[in-house]
């Protein structure tokens, strides 16, 4: 594989960039694979990469209905963090942070990992206390966290509304300094390129139409490009999990919902950190291009449409202006929607299933992007070893039977209320 480097960039510049090789090939599917990963999103691509890299399993295919990276890995607000209260989440996502830190070098693809710090604003003492609980838990799990007072927040993010004319004044915030952002598309492409170079077949525009299950054991999948045999199959199709589950006669603790995000026109740098509003649901960062990247609530009803409605964005942007008055004069440039697997306790599922050789990776709610490396890493382990790793042990499907739920927000099963 061609190495990406400044040297090679310069060398190629003198050849008119005509000698760059394809980042990934476009193979026709083989008859059989050791492992098929369904879903060429971030999680699926990462899983294939770690199967090859960590477990030396390279007879792997990724089967993608559309084009790789076209799902939620290309439709998010690019935030990375591990600021979770529950141990199961905190330790899992911190593993992810470790992988993020060296991802560009690991993949030889600049994913622009940018630990610019994420700040959750608090607007009351009660909220400061809730954040303290979370932050202390993080610190005891070895995750960085700092509690900021109002003045400290002001120093970091002077553009926030510190005037008298606010409904919910800022009391302070919880900051994870190592939280930040990464370039979302690059993550998908970087994993794809490396997986491809290690022998993984990336098969795009190939829709799964059914499964071949014999006596409780997976034998292969049926696709728009024909039947493909497989010893093991992993599902990585957050957003569409219920559709595939239906083909397998499975019903899951998941509902599919629509989440919108938007960007403003690009402006000169004004915000370095990622900031979230505490008196509602709004988060914001500024991309390297200068666009303010903003998101918030779900549209709030089951949906597979990647298109939402304006009142939700109105609501989100209302909180945006409450936080950053300067947003008022900017213009909303682009909006988009992604479809989310909303699980019934807000936490994901990475587990084996009752079907031998079939593995499940789903339920990411709106937090899937930051999980990409840890999800791929643990899922690859689970598929390769046919058992859960201690990092994803809590993300088992059975927790909905036993009551060992991981409810970070304490909102229960009304997944559409955020």
């Amino acid at each position: 594989m061609q190495k990406y480097s400044l040297f090679n960039l310069i060398k190629n510049a003198f050849k008119g960039h005509k000698e760059w090789e394809v980042a990934w090939k476009d193979p026709t599917p083989k008859d059989e694979y050791d492992v098929i990963i369904i879903g060429g999103g971030g999680h699926g691509l990462a899983t294939a990469y770690y199967l090859a890299k960590e477990h030396n399993i390279t007879n792997v295919a990724i089967v993608e209905k559309g084009w790789i990276g076209g799902g939620n890995v290309g439709r998010n607000t690019t935030i990375l963090r591990s600021n979770y209260m529950h141990d199961e989440n905190g330790l899992f996502y911190e593993k992810g942070m470790d992988l993020w830190r060296s991802m560009s070098q690991d993949l030889n693809f600049n994913v622009m990992y940018s630990p610019r710090g994420i700040i959750n604003l608090a607007h009351s003492d009660a909220q400061m206390n809730a954040y303290s609980r979370r932050g202390n838990s993080m610190r005891l799990n070895g995750i960085d966290a700092v509690l900021l007072g109002r003045e400290e927040v002001k120093k970091l993010v002077p553009m926030l509304d510190f005037s008298e004319n606010v409904r919910f004044p800022i009391f302070g915030g919880l900051m994870q300094p190592s939280g930040g952002t990464a370039r979302h598309d690059a993550v998908a492409w970087g994993y794809a390129r490396q997986a491809d170079s290690m022998g993984v077949d990336i098969i795009q525009h190939c829709e799964v139409t059914g499964f071949d299950v014999v006596k409780g054991k997976i034998k292969g999948i049926k696709t728009s490009k024909g039947n493909i045999k497989a010893k093991k199959v992993g599902l990585c199709v957050a957003g569409s999990t219920s559709v595939l589950a239906k083909m397998l006669n499975m019903t899951l603790p998941i509902e599919t919902h629509l989440l919108q995000a938007c960007v403003s026109e690009p402006i000169k740098p004004i915000l370095d950190n990622v900031v979230t509003f505490g008196a509602g649901h709004f988060y914001c960062s500024q991309s390297d291009k200068g666009e303010m990247v903003m998101g918030g609530d779900l549209d709030g009803y089951n949906s597979y449409a990647q298109r939402g409605n304006l009142p939700t964005l109105q609501h989100v942007l209302t909180e945006g202006i409450a936080m950053f008055p300067f947003l008022s004069k900017l213009k909303m440039l682009r909006t988009w929607g992604g479809i989310m697997d909303m699980s019934m306790d807000g936490s994901p599922i990475i587990d084996k299933t009752h079907i031998e050789g079939l593995y499940l990776n789903c339920g990411w709610c709106y937090g899937g992007f930051k999980a990409t490396p840890a999800s791929g890493w643990t899922f690859a382990y689970t598929i390769a070893q046919d058992k859960v790793h201690e990092l994803n042990a809590g993300y088992n499907l059975n927790r909905f039977n036993t009551g060992h739920l991981i409810d970070e927000k304490g909102l229960g099963t009304k997944t559409w209320i955020s």
Binding site: G74, N141, I321
Partner: protein, 998 residues
């Protein structure tokens, strides 16, 4: 400076009103009716900005929302707006604007060094480098790149402008006032339909303003004026200019922004700057027209290269010449109209037509005027850096592959036309799948998804005659469906010149040994070789191409670049365009001011504020308020120099010693009536309710179906079939919906009605050893003895002539009562209580003291009932009936919920009895264990116990029932605290609950 490029007479501007403005600090003049762009061009200013990546000089390319270049920083009325399009910004007196993305100036921009290094910056170059050393990306490279990014500068002040919203319903919304919009709106309105006609630009008429065609015996402009005048008179028609329909959403909801004051030096009094219209239309007509697309050639981004249609509009609408030596470069007939217009105004154009020998009325007219036309000719490259100075042109072979001898001809602008792209954004947003029309080389709407009709050039129809005919017909047919009327108007006669087919040519090949940059996306600096590189590297899906090269992702969203990008991909991949597909169109069509989307809900009004009827009294008595959801509640009443700690301690002590009064109006209240009311309560609450006598209250806990505690509160039996339920402030709305859900869906057989009465009652809690004496004084005729009104008793009373409900319930753990009166009497009640309480040393107390009182009593509240705990965890297991079923009971039997080491609420006291334990601290066995340090539980609430005068906390801790007596550490790494503590019972004060019963 004089307006050298302004014609003497032509145009629709008001020459009677001269307007002065400043650009980059220099003063210029224009006329009323100009845009900033037209006024600058009139003054010979063509250099407006610099491009995003290479900082190449940029001028004007279009004349409206499609403009990719002319983005400026605007100054108006003491405020500044970033990223304004000069082609859309109307001129007003005193307007000031500056170029963006250049330093130190637009004329001399240091960033332009990028242009000379451009070979090192191909598409996606940043993915391939900046990786070593590891931390350099975010410490060195990224900050550098960030500084270079972005256009305008955001204002740091609060926006002084107002934005408003309007909701409107209509039979037919017509988006665009060109020929198809006017015709359909006119026909439909004459047939009785309620119409909204929206035009983005200040002037109505669209392409008719620049067309030479006649309608009936009128010019296009005259016809427009007549129709608009008539429509404005009709009561069933709303006509709006400066109004852009930017989004087509579900269920025929379309959203429009109306720019009411943007064109004025400052907003008129009581008038919003912009208004956002949510329009629910029974039917929508998409008459959004089409945008001319460029032909791609070398250095086609040089200032002076403009769309031919833009040149024509500058000329005919603004009386402005984009150049005095124009070169027209076209593959179709429409650009000849631009040439003819130049010629009519005494400017000799040269036309280069890619076609070999087209013959049409338009071309013949141009020929007859003596215009120099070169067929089979193309522009290879524009020459000149900050402005076109000449062009390299050549003959092109029939197969469009070989170029003849290159000639250099002088020119000062190149007006380019590569035919027309229908503006299908709204149709696509509605869910319409598009189809590729081979005749026009562009996508048009296919099968409609919602109630919409696309007309005119937006639908690929480019003759006026057919547009008017089909649009009059459509207006009539659509309206007939709605109004059932049959007043039909026939389309007028049209005389227009016939045009012949355009050439399917869109990109000029490079001559040998030339490396001109050929731009596809002008703002984002995406050139042909970028797309070629993307495809070479396997980014083959059109979405991959877009994301890898950033094609079409600039602020114009690819209005002039997308289709040429598709052409290129289709050529290289050897696929037909429909197989390549296009990226999805999403709202907004053009960028929309965020302030307008948000409207009036800004500042203090960003969320509602709810206040109790006693709020003014609290304010007058120096209450410091705290947000409780959207309610404001007194947190404490400040005396002298007191802070939160001193004041709340004083208030809490006074409750324990004398008597206090607390405003509890915010508690949720639900009136429950009906013969099955008790049965409902019995199913909703975990404890038994069937035998509660009239005149008695009971504490209850309710669960969600997953077994988690949802809420708690007291419910009182007012009469046989009438109950009064209270909920926590936070859960009031949820509990009501919850009850309605079960009554209407799950147990419709229960005959019960529920209604929220939260706002109907004002509440005051009177607590403390003196509370009975005070109550007696307030209700002198009432038996308030322990027998007359026992604990959990309820009576109705007369409070100095006002009806009152008196509940003997307690949250503070003291002897306490809660008095409710109708809201209007709330303040009266409060003042009477304060007045009567004086002799018993009454003091009002706020939520902080309330919190102290409940914590030291071990009463659980929101911080323990946090959506993760079951009754067992919070010491409420006694409330759980084993005999009957209730909501969520089945979930309590699950493995995790019955585990022996289940978490539980306990009390925590610091060993030194001095150090307050911060809330949110975590409890561990070993303060110095290595990380991750196993956590046993957390501190949920802390207070200074007024009873024992030392800190006391509640905690939820694993294996709670066996932990009492253990010595642990409360750790708050965030606050750098490690406090040795002892676990004690959560019932720190009056564990037997004797006081409340005293």
């Amino acid at each position: 400076m004089s307006q050298n490029y302004r014609l003497d007479k032509v145009g629709l501007i008001n020459r009677g009103k001269k307007i002065s403005f400043k650009f980059n600090g220099k003063k210029y003049f224009g006329y009323e009716g100009d845009t900033l762009a037209s006024a600058l061009i009139a003054n010979g200013v063509h250099l407006v900005g610099r491009s995003f990546k290479y900082h190449r000089p940029r001028g004007f390319f279009g004349v409206g929302a499609d403009e990719p270049y002319a983005i400026v920083q605007l100054y108006r009325n003491g405020e500044t707006d970033p990223n304004c399009r000069a082609t859309e910004q109307e001129l007003f007196d005193g307007l000031e604007a500056k170029s963006v993305n250049c330093w130190p100036s637009v004329n001399f921009d240091i960033g332009a060094i990028n242009n000379f290094l451009n070979r090192f910056f191909p598409a996606g170059f940043y993915y391939k480098t900046f990786m070593w050393p590891k931390s350099f990306w975010y410490k060195v490279y990224e900050p550098f790149i960030r500084r270079a990014a972005g256009f305008g500068v955001a204002s740091t002040k609060h926006d002084k402008e107002r934005y408003e919203h309007k909701y409107e319903y209509c039979d037919l919304l017509v988006a665009g006032s060109g020929p198809s919009g006017l015709a359909s709106a006119y026909a439909a309105s004459k047939n009785g339909a309620k119409i909204i006609l929206a035009e983005d630009k200040p002037r109505f008429g669209g392409s008719l303003l620049t067309s030479e065609a006649n309608i009936g015996n009128q010019s296009g402009k005259e016809w427009v004026d007549k129709i608009i005048a008539e429509l404005k008179e009709m009561p069933n028609v709303i006509v709006k200019n400066r109004a852009q329909v930017f989004g087509y959403y579900d269920h025929n909801m379309l959203v429009m922004t109306e720019r009411i004051n943007d064109h004025l030096p400052k907003s008129k009094k009581y008038s919003p700057k912009q208004r956002l219209w949510y329009i629910r239309a029974k039917e929508a007509v998409i008459s959004s027209g089409s945008i001319e697309r460029p032909i791609v050639f070398g250095n086609n981004d040089t200032p002076g290269v403009v769309l031919a249609s833009a040149a024509r509009e500058y000329l005919k609408v603004y009386g402005v010449l984009v150049g005095k030596k124009p070169l027209i470069f076209t593959n179709n007939d429409s650009a000849y109209e631009t040439a003819i217009e130049f010629k009519k105004n005494g400017v000799w154009p040269i036309v280069l037509d890619t076609r070999s020998n087209p013959d049409s009325e338009t071309i013949n007219e141009a020929k007859s005027m003596g215009i120099n036309i070169k067929f089979s000719h193309v522009v290879i490259a524009a020459k000149g850096y900050k402005k076109v100075k000449s062009a390299e042109i050549a003959k092109i072979s029939k197969d469009k592959k070989d170029l003849g001898k290159i000639e250099n001809i002088e020119c000062d602008c190149i007006c380019v036309s590569g035919f027309w792209t229908p503006t299908i954004h709204l149709a696509s947003q509605s869910g319409n799948k598009t189809k590729f029309n081979e005749n026009i080389d562009a996508f048009i709407p296919d099968k409609v998804k919602q109630k919409e009709t696309t007309l005119g050039s937006a639908n690929g129809i480019f003759t006026l005659e057919e547009t008017l005919k089909t649009s009059f017909e459509a207006g009539y047919e659509i309206s007939k469906k709605i109004t059932n009327k049959e007043n039909k108007i026939t389309a007028p006669q049209v005389s227009e010149k016939k045009q012949v087919k355009h050439d399917k040519f869109w990109c000029v090949p490079l001559p040998k040994n030339k490396t001109y940059k050929r731009f596809l996306d002008f703002q984002n600096d995406v050139v042909v070789t970028d797309v070629e590189l993307a495809l070479r590297e396997g980014y083959r899906s059109i979405e991959h191409v877009k994301r890898y090269t950033t094609l079409g992702m600039a602020t114009d969203q690819g209005k002039t670049s997308n289709l040429n990008g598709l052409q290129l991909v289709s050529n290289i991949e050897n696929k037909i365009i429909p197989a390549v597909g296009h990226t999805t169109f999403r709202p907004p069509y053009t960028p929309v001011t965020i302030g307008a989307i948000v409207g009036r809900e800004v500042g203090k009004h960003s969320k509602p504020t709810r206040k109790s009827p006693m709020h003014l009294w609290h304010e007058k008595h120096d209450a410091v308020f705290v947000d409780a959801g959207v309610w404001l509640r007194p947190r404490y009443y400040k005396q002298g120099n007191e802070g939160l700690f001193e004041a709340s301690r004083r208030e809490a002590e006074n409750v324990r010693k004398n008597v206090g009064v607390c405003d509890v109006t915010t508690l949720g209240k639900i009136d429950i009536k009906g013969p099955d009311a008790a049965e409902l309560l019995n199913r909703v609450y975990t404890n038994a309710w069937l035998k509660l006598p009239v005149g008695k209250a009971r504490y209850g806990v309710m669960l969600r179906e997953d077994g988690i505690v949802m809420d708690d509160g007291t419910t009182t039996r007012i009469s046989e079939n009438h109950y009064h339920m209270t909920t926590t402030t936070a859960q009031a709305a949820n509990v009501l919906s919850h009850l309605e859900y079960y009554l209407q869906i799950v147990w419709p057989e229960l005959n019960v009605n529920v209604v929220s009465t939260t706002e109907q009652w004002a509440g005051a809690a009177i607590a403390g050893p003196n509370s009975r004496k005070l109550l007696q004084k307030l209700f002198s005729n009432m038996d308030v003895s322990n027998q007359g009104l026992p604990f959990m008793g309820y009576v109705e009373g007369n409070l100095f002539g006002v009806y009152a409900r008196i509940f003997r319930i307690s949250f503070s753990g003291e002897l306490a009562y809660e008095v409710n009166v109708e809201s209007d009497n709330g303040n009266f009640m409060w003042e009477k209580i304060i007045e009567a309480g004086k002799e018993f040393d009454i003091q009002p107390y706020g939520t902080e003291a309330l919190s102290t009182l409940r914590i030291e009593m071990g009463h659980v509240a929101g911080s323990e009932l946090d959506g993760r705990t079951i009754p067992y965890d919070t010491g409420l297991q006694g409330m759980v009936s084993q005999k009957k079923d209730f909501i969520g009971k089945r979930s309590l039997n699950r493995e995790a919920f019955i585990a022996g080491d289940r978490q539980k609420v306990v009390g925590v006291v610091p060993l030194d009895k001095k150090t307050s334990i911060p809330e949110g601290s975590q409890l561990v066995k070993d303060a110095n264990a290595k990380l991750p340090n196993p956590k046993l539980g957390h501190i949920s609430a802390s207070c200074w116990s007024v009873e024992y005068n030392n800190p006391f906390s509640l905690a939820i801790i694993k294996d709670g029932k066996n932990m009492i007596g253990q010595k642990l550490f409360a750790l708050s790494p965030l606050k750098n605290k490690s406090i040795p503590v002892e676990i004690v019972s959560s019932h720190y004060v009056d564990p037997k609950g004797e006081r409340v019963r005293s």
